[in-house]
Amino acid sequence: MSKFAFEAHNVSRSFGVVQALKNVSLGVAPGEVHAIIGENGAGKSTLMNIFCGKLQPTEGTLARNGEIVNFTSPIDSQQAGVGIAPQEVSLVPNLSVYENILLGAQLTKGPRIDWKLTRAEAIEHLHAVDDTIDPDLRVRKLSKAQQQLVQIARAAATKPRILIFDEPTAALTYRETEKLYSYIRNFRAEGGSVFYVSHRLDEVLALSDRISVLRDGAFIIELDPKNTSKETLVNHMVGRDVSRAQKALRPDFEKADVVLEVEGLCRAGEFEDVSFNLRKGEILGVSGLIGAGRTELAKCIFGLTHKTKGKVRILGQEHEIKSPADAINLGLVYLPEERKQEGIFPLLSITENMAMPNLDRFRSLLHFRFGDMQKEVQGYVERLKIKIGQQKDRITSLSGGNQQKVIIGRWLMKNSKILIMDEPTRGIDVNAKFEIQRELRRFTDNGLSIIFISSEIEEVIDVSDRVMVMHEGRVKGICNSGEASPEQLMQLAMS
């Protein structure tokens, strides 16, 4: 009899020639939180997908309470008591919150669904995770964070004995994360088992009873969180020493030119009376809870939405930015949060993705000078240290972090002056994250100015020169990042 409630025995999985998982064995005992960490591409999600029956192992077996089980679909895993809150929100946008929670498991009376009972039970599951979400709203009306919470309530509603969380806090704010932790602790106290995948090492250390590190599809080491440091974790994840992004010397910005000046900007229902300026070479961090209006502000400055009131000056000149095309022509670029949906062209190559807005530069009378284009793209690939196979590969062949760098290369190539980055490091692995944080300083050294939106307060402080905190659509304060502690900023963001 195994001591594990659920375990993998020598599980391997390959996709064509790529070996995503190599001979991995690990398990979770009742009443235990087992964290799985690793860089992107380490095989965590593949393993989780095998656990929940979405993928089948090419070799090896799964066992539930010591008995071998064979999951051919998520239906099987659910019946065995395994529930998953997947990384990507996977809900039906046009159905209500409560129906999504009990999707496919509505309570029935004969052939009929008993809507009253169904709703009541769904609300119970929802409230265990969050009690501020309206259960009758359609899911598409919810924010990203709220959807993630509904997703978690969904997983809980299958009444699992084993719960798998794949990056549950990626979109969550501080307060919601705390609620999730207490939910997980309760679940554990009742004898439930948890597999917990996360990039946030602090929370892994705080929450888990055991940590397993995966690298390149293989199991590396099991660690006890009580006597492990973050640095040790990172070193095992990447297989070598990584020094944290250095706090670069902050130049004296008082004398630098103001490149962007926003004065009294309003957009009804989203944000109000926002004023700030951005100097040449500066990184301005924007912090706040989800729903504070940061993304809305960025989209408005970029011309995706229209302001109700206020002024935007670029290099001292007032401009009416009516569309993204206007903004780009003025040298202002926005890198959206939803990289996949709004940033990349998944069917095109790396070269085309980077050169897309710059095609005119490479046009001769009748044809594109592809040679020149490739040469210039290669320059940025090297400057930004983008890990690629060949330029003509599809951009989707790259990891998330490297895709992001291609997009940044695109705008450097376009000779942009101001970059607004919305959660650029969300959901990418630690190594690529540090790399991007380091790169940001290199960009600014080349004359770029950056507005850096992030929900991770420590990251904002590490990366930015100044931090602007927003709360419910208003600016709560702007301070030099050297003078602020994470706790102070959090206080500002929440009041």
Binding site: C52, L95, T108, E270, G293
Partner: protein
Amino acid sequence: MTTVTKLTGNPTMAVQRKTSLMNRFWRWEASGILVALVALVLVLSFTTGNFLSSYNLVVVARQAAFVGLVALGQTMVLLVGGIDLSVGAAAGLSAIVGSLLLTSVGVNPYLVIPLTMLFGMGLGLINGVFVAGLRLNPFIVTLATWEIFAGLTLVITQGYPIRPLGEPFTFFGKGDVFGVPNPVVIFVVLGAALIWLLTQTRFGRNVFAVGGNREAAILAGIHVKRDEFLAFGLAGMFAALAGILYASRMDAGQPSVGEGWLMGCITAAILGGTSLRGGQGSIVGTMMGALLLAVLANGTVLLNVSGFWQRVIVGFVVLLAVLVDLFRTRD
């Protein structure tokens, strides 16, 4: 608008405020079609003398019933995120097979309709095998089966109608219940049954889930392929029912049965607020959509507008419906 400004900075608050009856009405997918239908009926009853006569209303309702029945099945397929281009041809082939069952095989007239429906369901399930089972594109699969079904109809009939079908079989298409034509009664009863199925059973909710987010449905442990498969089966079944009822009404299994029903049924569903992307729509909307098309056709005749203009008008109405939907969802 001032109240909205005051809620600045907390968009969820704005959404959660008490919604008026009017707002709730507009949020309903079929609100646009209902308004259009009422407006059109009002206009026609004032501009023509005889639109509201019971005779004319019966004509309109019967006209709506045939395309409407096909549209009910099409709506199921659209809701799971598919499309079935073969319904018209399936209706034609089923009508021929049903007529032959009656005349050549000598099947009991009362069994002909259920058997034909089963046959039509089989045709739909063939589409289902390719689309749900093999994950092929529904547009291409049903384009192919459309040709196959239509071709088989001609092969079997050599282009000649099968007639007469005779009493008592013609009662199903020609008879009435208290003055309401049988096809209309069947249309309304089955429409109500589908509404119940879609709103009150797990299968019905799964249909919305599969069309709204297939991935989420899979993860929720829903038998996605089975539900898609069944939706195509229902589309075939409803098409066959419409086809055989039409044959019954005409007292002949004509090879041309079902021609023109494809565009009609998709138009009815779209007018009724069903999304081509799946996951959104309603049976009530589709039924009103079918009715609107019939009223339009009837109105152009009553107003002495050339029949040639009718298609132009229908085209504009569809564009208008899409525009209304655009403004409705942009809240």
